[in-house]
Point group: C2
Chain length 279, copies 2
């Protein structure tokens, strides 16, 4: 079931499909069904963002013209959060451009584990909130892997991994990552806990390079069972193979991006946040 | 030579390439060279718009951060001009969404033959101007086909075709079109002038259905030589074949969209408008 349908079911709300017609010249014509609620919620995960962004703005326009007074966007995956400063002269702050775009058409944006570094909170750049998956991933570990230790591949993942391990009641370690290119990294691990099973946790996996390298490093230290859990399954074509070839027992993901590895449902987390927002 | 390079040459301006890096997850990172002018002109034809729009907004952001005070967008082809009203309940006015988007990031937009119906002028929806190709197409006819008559496939094309014929000093006719679907139309022609050669003129060709049908109708009336001239060569994969199979001698286009059929250069028209704007 799609994220939107799951969410509607959790909220006891009706669920309407946004129809998108593609013209031969590459333009899209969006059409929404009659608006039954003055506050509709648009659900669209925004991986592969360039091709989707206009369509969600068109949907917002159509919904307002059809009677919506207030619009919330639920984007389980929110892109362009990494380019949050001018790293080299001549670059844009893509994060701000994207945030301004969404804020111009939506009243509020809800997302899950936005990949924020220098930006402290999502509300610093747009009206909205980024929800945590710490409890849901910890719950999965307690249920399926309570004999493991948790591994964060890099210092950036440290705070989340520490929180997940604490909630799951298991030990954890955090590696050190050096990025050598878009698809190449090197990872160094500290001393390992005395356990034979590791659960690698990361927020995004794209090329799979980070998880593959971390898996490889764990294998070299003799860990026999390694599960890799990611929030956002962006996964390029060969990413899963790359991680499995490095020795992972299984790759699983939250359902912010529909993918065969989806194993942890996050519609309940979003529904709870929306209910709080309405209450 | 690209439209941008031709334009820079006509304006005696320097020409800087906007670098676009594509990440494995589908995000783009744009980078502009040092801004030498406080009023740079971004040149980007916006056919296949969904995949391009974010990149031009990023370029605008990057240019402002690099010191641009004023930004002009030259979009030789400007998409989303046709959806200028809510045709069926639940639809957006895509034209307004697109216009608002460009107006938020650029001070001024210059385009060529924007496909406007109910909107009278481009400046009604965004700060900018749509330039005419009447003189350039008429000049081509005088030079290469002064024994022809001009044909507009539908009433919409009437005013332009009349103006082109007048400038070229040749007769013209205008057909009547009935649209049966995205890729199917029917065209009825009035009585033809006593000439054996026709030049079909239209602003946009996408599926090629309109030009193919008009060509077919001219062939049936015994016209031996038919050239089809379009401004915007959107041309779907099989469009040219379709028009040629219907009996066209040659298909040619203006260079608003880079295409093998490009035969009429419009950089001089844009350069003249920019020079007037600066003068």
């Amino acid at each position: 079931m799609s994220f939107g349908k799951q969410l509607a079911s959790r909220l006891s709300a009706s669920c309407a499909h946004v129809a998108v017609h593609k013209f031969p010249d590459g333009e899209s014509l969006v059409r929404v069904l009659p608006v039954l609620d003055s506050h509709p919620i648009v659900v669209r995960s925004l991986h592969d963002p360039n091709s989707k962004v206009l369509e969600i703005l068109f949907a917002a326009d159509a919904l307002r013209r059809a009677g919506a007074k207030r619009l919330t966007l639920v984007a389980p995956y929110l892109p362009y959060m990494r380019q949050d400063t001018v790293f080299r002269h001549g670059e844009p702050v893509s994060q701000h451009v994207f945030a301004r775009l969404l804020a111009s058409w939506f009243d509020r944006v809800l997302t899950i584990e936005a990949h924020l570094h220098r930006t402290h909170r999502l509300s610093d750049i747009m009206p909205g909130r980024s929800l945590s998956t710490v409890k849901e991933i910890a719950a999965w570990i307690r249920r399926h892997a309570d004999d493991c230790f948790v591994v964060g591949p890099d210092s950036e993942s440290g705070p989340r991994v520490r929180a997940i391990a604490k909630h799951a009641g298991v030990p954890y370690i955090v590696g050190q990552k050096k990025r050598l290119g878009d698809r190449r990294v090197r990872i160094a691990l500290p001393a390992l806990p005395q356990r034979g099973r590791a659960v690698l946790v990361d927020d995004i996996a794209s090329s799979g390079a980070t998880l593959a390298e971390a898996t490889h490093a764990l294998r070299k230290r003799g860990i026999g069972r390694i599960e890799a859990v990611v929030v956002h399954a962006l996964f390029a074509a060969d990413a899963i193979k790359r991680i499995e070839r490095a020795g992972a027992t299984r790759v699983l993901s939250c359902d912010t991006i529909a993918h065969p590895t989806n194993a942890i449902s996050l519609a309940p987390v979003v529904a709870a946040a929306l209910n709080r927002g309405r209450g």
